[in-house]
């Protein structure tokens, strides 16, 4: 028969609190001094962690003045820009959070109404500065939808190539900053180092490392540079080894696991209710990717999987991003092998400028060039909404034209803006120390949030 007596000293507490790993831990009295008058045995028990003081976790009846409002940001190294959080904490536990945004608001939607449709990509590329190609692509697709034109196959393939490489660079930054926030500094160094090799290819192709203004209505602005296959091939050859390195570093790292598992959990129902898209949605187990659901730029011709998570915690979001990089590399490889020949922009000279050499010999080409760069092209009246799957989720462009050469209204559905809404819900009743891990795993880009 088992002993029915219930000894409070050996009661198993199913709750992790600092110092409670070994409740039976008995300190030796070796080297101990005599108990002084102020040190009662109860106090010593508390000091040695034998008393589990968990009342701050579940007791809601504390007085209001126990709660402290802590202001985090807008200048804080781990808020990924100028995000400001007002966090109401009770001891170490976050009770309420209020994200305050707008510190990077530059009125880009208003600016877009002043720029012609051809100048528009210059503007939108500065919104989500970690995924500039996706912003350009959403805008260009919207303009093309209003113009009712199709880009040549080579232009579509180049767009897929660039956006998928861009997804890798963006996820690398997400991973690097997530690692840096939790303390995995080597991940930060690795992530930014590998990103540089892709940015070098972007620079060779578009002239800039970011804010490319490369994808424009009617196609892309320039063909791929000579020798691009060697560059992309080098990236494809190098990256599998690098991604394996990240797995060696983090995947089963106990510190990483304890900092990310069951932290910042967002369930699938919550994710859908809060309009979360992208890796944060897929980490919650919802199989939704715009590249599969509403394919664009011929991305349906390439084979790839949609990685999913299970729990929707920080760890799952990290895994989904790593897996998405593998899938993006798969797409890049297929695009590289099947790159069609032909023009990289539509031949309609009312939309895309003539080749430079034609301007010297053709009067029409000169006129077209002049008209395009002074007043731009006019777009028939109408409205449309086009969305692409950016590294952060659904990046949509709602475009209204009234028949002029500038948009009547351009609105960007910014994925970070919507994902950020879920922060208070994801952080409620979690520990203060998990704040930075949760923020980093949502991967907000403040340029995208504030626009």
């Amino acid at each position: 028969m088992s002993d029915e007596t219930n000894d409070p000293q050996t009661e198993v507490v199913d709750l992790w609190v600092a110092g409670s790993e070994e409740p039976q831990f008995q300190p030796t009295d070796e080297g101990a001094q005599e108990i002084s008058a102020g040190e009662t045995p109860d106090r010593l028990d508390a000091q040695f962690g034998r008393v589990i003081d968990d009342d701050y976790l579940f007791d809601d009846d504390v007085a209001e003045d126990e709660r402290v409002i802590v202001n985090m940001g807008p200048q804080h190294p781990s808020t990924h820009g100028v995000l400001r959080l007002e966090i109401e904490i009770e001891g170490e536990v976050i009770r309420r959070t209020k994200p305050i945004v707008g510190y990077l608001h530059t009125g880009m939607e208003k600016t877009a109404e002043q720029l012609t449709f051809g100048q528009g990509p210059t503007n939108v590329t500065r919104m989500d500065y970690l995924a500039p190609f996706h912003g350009e692509l959403a805008y260009s697709l919207a303009v093309e939808k209003l113009l009712d034109i199709e880009v040549p196959p080579r232009a579509a393939a180049i767009r897929v190539l660039m956006t998928e490489l861009n997804r890798v660079t963006s996820h690398l930054v997400a991973l690097a900053t997530n690692g840096m926030d939790i303390g995995a500094l080597s991940m930060m160094i690795y992530g930014f180092r590998e990103r540089e090799s892709i940015l070098a290819f972007f620079e060779k192709t578009t002239g800039l490392r970011m804010n490319h203004n490369y994808i424009r209505p009617g196609g892309v602005v320039a063909d791929l540079p000579p020798g691009w296959k060697d560059d992309v091939g080098g990236i494809l050859k190098d990256f599998p080894r690098r991604l394996d390195q990240y797995d060696d570093l983090l995947k089963e790292n106990p510190i990483w696991l304890s900092r990310t598992r069951d932290v910042g959990v967002i369930s699938s129902e919550e994710a859908i209710a809060f309009s979360i898209t992208g890796p944060a949605l897929r980490a919650a187990g919802v199989d939704w990717d715009l590249r599969k659901a509403f394919p664009y730029s011929g991305i349906e011709n390439y084979e790839f999987e949609v990685p999913l998570g299970e729990n929707g915690d920080v760890y799952d979001r990290y895994r989904v991003r790593i897996d998405e990089m593998w899938e993006s590399l798969k797409i890049v490889e297929q695009v590289m092998d099947a790159m069609p020949k032909g023009d990289y922009r539509v031949a309609d000279r009312k939309i895309t400028p003539p080749p430079r050499a034609r301007i010297d010999e053709s009067m029409e080409a000169l006129i077209h060039h002049f008209k395009l760069f002074t007043e731009g092209f006019k777009v028939p009246p109408g409205e449309t909404y086009v969305a692409v799957e950016s590294p952060r989720g659904e990046l949509g462009c709602y475009l209204v034209s009234d028949g002029e050469a500038t948009p009547y209204r351009m609105h960007t559905r910014a994925p970070s803006f919507f994902n950020l809404q879920a922060l208070p819900m994801a952080m409620a009743d979690s520990l203060m120390a998990d704040t930075v891990a949760t923020i980093a795993s949502m991967d907000p880009v403040m340029g995208d949030v504030d626009r």
């Binding site: 209003l146 109408g382 409205e383 449309t384 909404y385 709602y398 209204v400 209204r409 919507f418």
Partner: protein
């Protein structure tokens, strides 16, 4: 038109259905805004992807157009619903009771256009400073400019 839209159009006979570049648009009267959204959510549109607005100034009798982009992951369909509200105290029902995700978007519309959303839990400015006067994305809000003086530059002949 997918079957869900036919059910919805049977329920709301005031709603005008349009096709815009292959996308389904429902022009909803402002009074039916919430009821239509609720019915759409009941018929499988579980995500409110976006809420935004357009200022038509004098081009339309009702100045503002509020646009919501709904998304159905189960049906794989999108539905854009829009309504028109007048220039004097433009007000429309908030969609936050149905989709909490509409909260930030409606705050942005309030901030940028000055459109009120009834029963929104926290209808405050989100992108502009709290003490800002005016609503920047209205067409009568000037872009403004910073004066630049070039008089210090040397004359070039």
């Amino acid at each position: 038109m997918i079957p869900v839209f036919e059910t919805l159009s049977g329920q709301f006979d005031q709603v005008v259905w349009e096709q815009s570049h292959g996308q389904d648009v429902a022009r909803v009267p402002a009074d039916d805004w919430y009821a239509f959204a609720e019915a759409a959510k009941g018929h499988g549109f579980e995500v409110c992807a976006d809420v935004t607005a357009v200022d038509w100034m004098r081009q339309r009798p009702d100045r503002f157009e509020v646009v919501a982009n709904l998304l159905s992951m189960s049906l794989g369909a999108r539905l854009r619903m829009s309504t028109s509200v007048g220039r004097d105290e433009p007000t429309v029902a908030s969609l936050t009771p149905l989709w909490p995700g509409a909260g930030f978007a409606e705050r942005e519309v309030f901030d940028m256009f000055g459109i009120n959303f009834e029963e929104h839990p926290d209808l405050t400015r989100i992108l502009m400073p709290d003490d800002w006067v005016g609503h920047p994305l209205r067409k009568d809000f000037g872009v403004g400019s910073v004066p630049v003086q070039f008089k210090a530059s040397h004359q070039v002949d």
